[in-house]
Structure formats: C-alpha cells, structure tokens
C-alpha cells in the first residue's frame, strides 16, 4: 500500500532564507506521525506547502501514491487533507453547525446544507465519540471544544489526512488527553494524522513514527518506540542538551513580594483576577500554572503596575506600595523587574534596532546619555557586551529587533532585566517560541538568579517548565488561585485537576 503522503525533495526559499532543503517525508496511512523541530526548522513551511499556502520551488507531493499539484488550500481539501491551525479559524458568534458549514454551504440557500451538516455531524460524533452541542455558539465553548469544531470541520470536508499544528498549546492536561484519545480513534478508523509539536512528551505518548527537522532539513525519521526524548532533543538541536536543569534545595529567605487580596478587571470591565493572595520570598521561584487566559497575564501586569488593581495591596520588601506609586516606572525603581509574556507586543519594539529595544523601560537612566540626548555608541557597546555574555546570535546590536529569532529576542529582554539586579523578577512565558538550546540557557539563568537570592514569580503555560523550575507552585483557574503545592510534592495529574478548577476544598 502506498503511503498517505509522500514529499519528495521539497525545496522552498524566502529571499535568502532556505526554509526547506531537499526535504523528504513519507507518512504511512493509518498512523500518527509526529514532526518535531526547533522554531524556524521549517516544519510550518513544510506543512504550509502540503496544505497549499505556499508552492514549493521544486519537489513533488504525492497523496496515496499519486503525484498532485497543491496550489491552494482548496486543492488540499480536494485531496483529502485537512488542517487544524494553532490559532483557530472560527467565527465565534456563529453556532457549531454554521461554522462547519461555512465555505461548504452547498448552494445559495442554507436549509439543505444545514440538514446535511446536522446528519453528518451526528454520524461523526457517533463514529469518533466527538460529543458536542451543535447549536451552541462557538464563542461560548471551551478551547478544547473549539478545537474539536476545527477537527469536525476538516472531517466534514472529507479529510483522510489531518494535520494538527501545536494542538495542545492551549489545552489543559485533561483536554490534551481527550484530544489524544480522539486522535487514536481517528487512527483506528484508518485516518492519517500528522502532529506538529515541540513537546517531546506528546510525541512519545501518541505517535507511531516521528520525523525531526533541523535548519530546513529532515535529519531523521524514526519509530517512536525505538527512540527517547534525549535522543530526539539531540537530533533537533544537533548537540546534547539537558532537558531538566538541576537545582539544589534551598531555604527561601525573607518575603520580598507580598500580594494580598488582589483583584483586577480588564479593559472591558471583566473580572480577570479575583482575590489573589500569595508571597514570594528571596531565593525562591514561585510558579503559576494555568491554562492560558485564566488571569495569569493580568496578574503579572497588575503587579508590574501596568494595570491598576481594583482591590488589594502589594508589598515590596515589606513596604506597602501606594496606588499612586504603583506604575511600571516606580516599580522598576524599587527593584521589581519584569520579563513580559509577549516579547513582540510588549517586551521589545520590533521595528527598533536591538540596542534601542535593550533600554526599553530604562531610557530615562542618566548614565545612558548626556542630558536629554541618548549616547548611541554607549548603548551599542553595552548591548554588544551583553550579547556576548548571553550568547545572542547574531551578536549585532544594530540589527532590527524583529530580525532575531524568538530565543535570541528573549535573551535580549532577559539580559536587559537581569543585568539591572532585580530584587523581584516577574517572568512571563520565558521560553514560549524559544528553541531547546536557548531554553536550557534561560532556565539556568533563572535558577542562578534564584540562588543569588532574587524572588522570582514565574508564569508559564508549559507545565513541564513550571514543575522543573519552581520551588512552590500556585494554580490559577478563572482568575482564582485554586491551589498551592510544593514542587517536590505534586505531579501533573494533581496540578491538572487544580488548573481545571477542582479546588482542594471540593476534592
């Protein structure tokens, strides 16, 4: 039997960037095939070629043994390929039925199409155990169910081959498990699944085979049963990496950051953080685990002074922060620094040269210039030194901030904050979109800071990261802190339940 998908000698360049170099890939029918690689390794480009977003410069695509030309997503859909994007392509106010029907209405009037969609959805949910309220507005569904709608859309369009791009990035652990259950039953029904991810744990848990990409090339395809996470990581990076940074047990010192009954509303007036209280001590990393969008972002922003809390108080080194002094500028002066969650929107200015992004938040510092004028030579020299210490590549202070890879941008932001000797450091998603090699570096830096007595509040949606780095873990769900655990005394299932809002009292 010929493979479901064969890609032969695919090449694709963007300007001078050779995103895919002679890539070969063969995916057997009825299997789950993982594709791993660092950011910029060419995974997304390859899948975009398969789904018709880009055309390859050269090479051949075969579906079920037949060479075909895929020039647009429509060609891909006709060939039985469906894609579930990382960012959902759904119309939130419309119902599940309407979303599935969108683009496949089957005529000028909706009635016939709708009947067909309902019948088909009923059959699909029976076959795969995909239960869903087909009349609910998509916007009211949980993220996990929204993803299910995306999968239903692809199946309704007759997809035999399903591509999922980082599907678990937005899911709680239980939701991820449900997704994997669904993928297994799809496989049993003879469907082929291609799973793009950077989480090696998921690769090991669910795939049959896994292909590794590095710098635009396909470096290996192996049977999942015959490999291990360290081996995959080494293939991805091209050298040995430590997946887990070692840290010693330490007794934390005095409380540096104390948050009491903090409540925060967003710009639309919706309560995002409800009554949060906790303490972070010197030499301690406190991790906040939670699915994205459960108030962690607002909590960080409120502590940093970017948002005024509606209620509650914050103490730094025991000193209460008056609300008039509670702004980012003052908080920095007091030694509370902040590595924000979203580098590109908040942490730096993409259009600025790196040396200008490297003073964001500190442009008032007297030593950076004379009077009102900034000393560019000095800024460039300063950053050049930091780039060496933090191994930023390329070490080019004048290069536009947006031209650096995610990991290197993050190192620029980290260098800026860490080198100013924080007492308290807020860190949001330190390794989102960062390649494995840089993750190791960033984790080491954070541990070193903790050992030096800095109080670190870490927010991450990567549970592994939280468990790996934190001394204590708080979980957040729906804006509330639902639990607190010592990192050494908990596990994924336990945290998963807390993150889903099952509190200690209820359990």
């Amino acid at each position: 039997m010929s493979p479901a998908i064969e890609l032969i000698a695919i090449n694709k360049s963007f300007g001078a960037v050779h995103a895919n170099k002679d890539v070969n890939l063969s995916v057997e029918r009825g299997t789950i095939h993982g594709i791993v690689g660092e950011n910029g390794a060419g995974k997304s480009t390859l899948m975009s070629i398969l789904y018709g977003f880009y055309e390859a410069d050269s090479g051949e695509v075969r579906v079920n043994g037949k060479p075909i030309a895929i020039r647009s997503p429509i060609d891909a859909i006709c060939a039985g390929i469906g894609m579930v994007h990382q960012h959902f392509m759904l119309v939130e106010p419309l119902s599940v039925v309407d979303n599935v029907m969108l683009g496949a209405e089957g005529g000028a009037m909706l009635r016939a199409g709708e009947a067909k969609v309902r019948a088909e959805l009923a059959r699909l949910s029976k076959d795969y155990g995909l239960e869903i309220d087909v009349d609910a507005a998509v916007g009211d569904l949980s993220v996990g169910l929204q993803q299910r709608v995306e999968i239903l859309k692809a199946l309704y369009r007759g997809a035999d081959i399903l591509i999922l791009d980082e599907p678990t990035a937005v899911l709680t652990p239980p939701e991820a498990d449900a997704l994997f259950g669904l993928l297994r039953s799809l496989k049993e029904q003879g469907k082929t699944v291609i799973l793009i991810t950077h989480k090696l744990r998921e690769i090991m848990a669910i795939t049959d085979r896994v292909s590794v990409m590095r710098r635009g090339e396909m470096v290996a395809t192996v049977e999942t049963a015959n490999t291990s996470p360290p081996e995959l990581a080494e293939l991805m990076v091209g050298r040995r990496v430590l997946l887990r940074v070692e840290k010693e047990e330490k007794t934390p010192g005095a409380p540096l950051l104390e948050v009491e009954n903090l409540s925060v509303v967003d710009s639309r007036g919706v309560l995002r953080v409800a009554n949060a209280s906790f303490t972070v001590r010197a030499g301690e990393i406190v991790g906040i685990a939670g699915v994205a969008g459960n108030g962690q972002s607002e909590l960080l922003e409120a502590i940093a002074g970017m948002r005024q809390p509606v209620l509650g108080s914050i103490r730094l080194e025991g000193q209460a922060i008056h609300s008039s002094a509670h702004n980012p500028h003052q908080m920095r002066q007091l030694g509370l620094l902040h590595v924000p969650e979203d580098r590109l929107r908040t942490g730096l200015v993409p259009a600025f040269p790196a040396f200008e992004s490297a003073i964001l938040g500190f442009s008032h510092e007297p030593h950076l210039g004379r009077g009102p004028i900034l000393d560019h030579d000095r800024l460039i020299a300063d950053l050049a030194k930091k780039m060496e210490q933090y191994d930023v590549r390329p070490p080019a202070p004048r290069l536009k901030s947006s031209k650096f890879s995610g990991g290197n941008q993050q190192k620029i932001v980290l260098a800026r904050e860490i080198e100013r000797n924080p007492k308290v450091l807020l860190v949001g998603q330190p390794t989102r979109g960062v390649d494995i090699g840089a993750i190791e570096f960033i984790h080491r830096r954070l541990i070193a800071l903790r050992d030096a007595g800095v109080a670190i509040l870490l927010v991450s949606v990567e549970l592994d990261e939280i468990m790996n780095l934190s001394d204590r873990i708080l979980t957040m769900c729906g804006g509330k802190i639902t639990g607190e655990r010592k990192a050494s005394e908990t596990n994924e299932q336990d945290l998963g339940l807390l993150m889903a809002g099952v509190t200690d009292e209820a359990a």
Partner: protein, 367 residues
C-alpha cells in the same frame, strides 16, 4: 509570512524614492502626451522655470521652506503614531499669533520682535494642535477627525477676526495692517547684498535657514533624544510603552504640541518673511502638501528636505509651465503633483517589493 523586505539603507532611502519619482514622471508624461502636448518640452519648462534662473530658484526654495515645516510637523506626529492633518489650521492660528505679537509690540527692536513673533507662531500652532491631541489622549477622539474639524474652525475663526476685529477700519480688505518694518525677516537677496553679492530678488528669506535648523532639531529629537525615543515607542508599539512606564497620553499631547509648533513655521515664512501682514488663506493648502512630503520623505528629516525640494520645483516650475504652455493649466500641474504623491506615497510598497526581490535574487546568486 511574506517575503522579507530587507534593503540596504541607501536603497531604502534613496533608490526606492528615486524610482518612484521617475515612474511618476513617466506616467505624468503620458498624461501630457494624451492632451496633445510634448512631455519633453513640458519637463524642460518645469525645470527651467524652477531651477534654471536665479529668480526661479529663489521661488523654489521659498516654497521648499514652507514644505519643510509642514512636512516635519506631519513627521513628528507620525512618529507618535498620529496622523496630523491639521497643518492648515495650525499654521492659520500661528499666523494669528504672529499678528498679535508683531502689531502689539511695535515698540520693540527687530532682534527681539522677530524671535517673539516666531515664538508666537509656535505657541499658537502648538495650542491649536494640543486640543485635538488632548482629546485623542484623554477622550479617544480620533485625531484625524478632530484635526480636520480644527482646520475648519481655524478657517472661520480667522475670517471672523479679520473681518470684524483685526481689520484696519479704513481698509476694505480682510487683512491686518502691515507688520512693523523691524519685524520683517530679511529677504535672502538683501542679506547677500549686505555682503556685496548680487542675487536676483525673490520671496526667499532667512526663514529657510530656520527650516533647515528645525530639520536638524527634529532629527536630534526623534532619533537621538530620550523624548524622541519615547515618542517612537508609543508610535510603534503602544503596549510596549505602557510596559516601559511611558504614558502614551502624555506623549501624544507632547508630540501634537511639537507638531503644531512646527506647522507654525509655514506662517513665519509666508507672513514674517513675505506678506508682512495677516491675510486670509495664506496657507494655500500647503498644510496638506506636508502629508505628501512626510510620506515621501519617510518621516525622516533628510527625506523631508529632499521631498520639499521636489515639491518646491513642482510648484514653482508648474507655475512657469502653466504660463509658457497654456494647454497645461495649473490644474494639470496639480494632476502631476497628484501622480507623484500616488507613486511616492501610496505605491511606495510596489517598488520597494520589486527592489527587495531583485536584491534577494542577487544575494542568492552570489551565495
């Protein structure tokens, strides 16, 4: 993901605009051809009239002075992410400021009166821009809408004042009495004559030097100062500004104040340098030309000076052209100006993409 648009600096700031201008002239040539005139002769008249004679050059540089000020005004606001299209109104109010200062402080000597007049222009222009700035910063009223409304307000206000309040009682013209002699900014031909150099007489006056100084000041402000840094952060990434502890509202108001003050330079050149009285509609729509100038100059002072020169050539040469080749009317010249704006401003991305593509290819071939 789109193809990366990486260009060497010189290509970005010189080559691409140059290609745009050439393309614009080619298309404009076709238009001239279409009405049965010879585009080559037209081009000759245009250049001859603007650069070919000392007098023509003087007028070209006079217009250029106007355009530098309004171009800089648009650029400063643009760096803060604001589209200030109120240059007309701000310059009009600046004219009022000049008239109030000069005609009320007639007893002062020139070396005091001239700087005070310039300050009056800057202050009134700044005030007229600060109100929309404040409304944008604190109330979220869109700056484009409010500055347009303020253009109209300025226009009716000045008509009212000139007809009912400031007009000389015995005059029928809606204009103030002439400014005192010592307040006139010296004509360039007079300055040169003082050094024994004879140049043809024109409206060109020392305000040109002020305009070039303003361009340097704006460069220093935007690209080198802490304040300019804050302005660019707000314009390019407002949420990064909040993170950095920079108040977008404060920066928006400051940027508009600076923008309005710069727009006041137009009134300085026209009124203190040439007309020597406040009269109706002295801004002649140049405030809007500033938008095109800033777009074409990519909001960089050097680009703005070059774009101002080009528009100076168009205005002065266009007038000559309309005179020498009557089939090409003033309206026709406006059309040509419009084509240049279209190519240099709106279609800029077209050539940028093309050039970037060529560069990428060349790079690949070399690799």
């Amino acid at each position: 993901m789109s193809a990366p648009l990486d260009l060497p600096r010189w290509a970005d700031t010189v080559l691409v605009p140059a290609i745009s201008v050439v393309a614009a002239f080619l298309v404009a040539g076709l238009v001239v051809l279409a009405i049965g005139e010879n585009p080559l002769t037209a081009t000759r008249w245009l250049l001859q009239g603007s650069l070919g004679t000392g007098e023509g050059l003087g007028f070209t540089l006079f217009y250029m002075t106007d355009f530098i000020f309004v171009g800089l005004a648009v650029a400063v606001a643009y760096h803060a992410g604001l589209f200030n299209i109120g240059g007309e109104g701000q310059a009009t109010l600046a004219g009022l400021g000049i008239a109030l200062v000069l005609n009320n402080l007639t007893f002062l000597p020139g070396f005091l009166l001239i700087p005070l007049g310039i300050l009056g222009a800057a202050a009134f222009g700044a005030l007229w821009a600060a109100i929309p700035g404040y409304l944008q910063a604190k109330r979220g009223s869109h700056i484009v809408i409010t500055t347009i409304m303020f253009n109209w307000l300025a226009s009716v206000l000045i008509v009212y004042l000139l007809v009912n309040v400031l007009r000389e009682p015995q005059s029928m013209n809606p204009e103030t009495r002439a400014f005192p002699d010592q307040s006139h900014i010296p004509f360039m031909h007079d300055v040169f004559a003082a050094f024994g150099i004879e140049i043809p007489a024109s409206q060109l006056n020392l305000t040109l030097v002020l305009a070039l100084a303003a361009a340097y000041f704006v460069w220093l402000l935007i690209y080198r100062s802490r304040l300019g840094y804050a302005i660019r952060v707000v314009g390019s990434n407002p949420s990064a500004a909040v993170y950095a502890g920079i108040s977008p509202a404060r920066i928006i108001i400051i940027a508009m104040v600076l923008s309005g003050a710069l727009a006041g330079g137009l009134a300085v050149n026209e009124l203190m340098g040439y007309q020597h009285r406040l009269l109706l509609e002295f801004t002649s729509g140049y405030g809007f030309v500033g938008i095109a100038v800033a777009l074409m100059g990519r909001a960089h002072p050097v680009g703005i000076i070059l774009a101002s020169l080009l528009f100076g050539i168009l205005y002065q040469g266009g007038a000559e052209l309309a005179f020498e080749q009557p089939a090409i009317t003033r309206d026709m010249v406006v059309v040509i100006g419009g084509i240049i704006i279209l190519f240099a401003g709106a279609l800029d991305g077209l050539f940028r993409r093309l050039v970037a593509h060529l560069f990428a290819r060349q790079k690949l071939a070399r690799a």
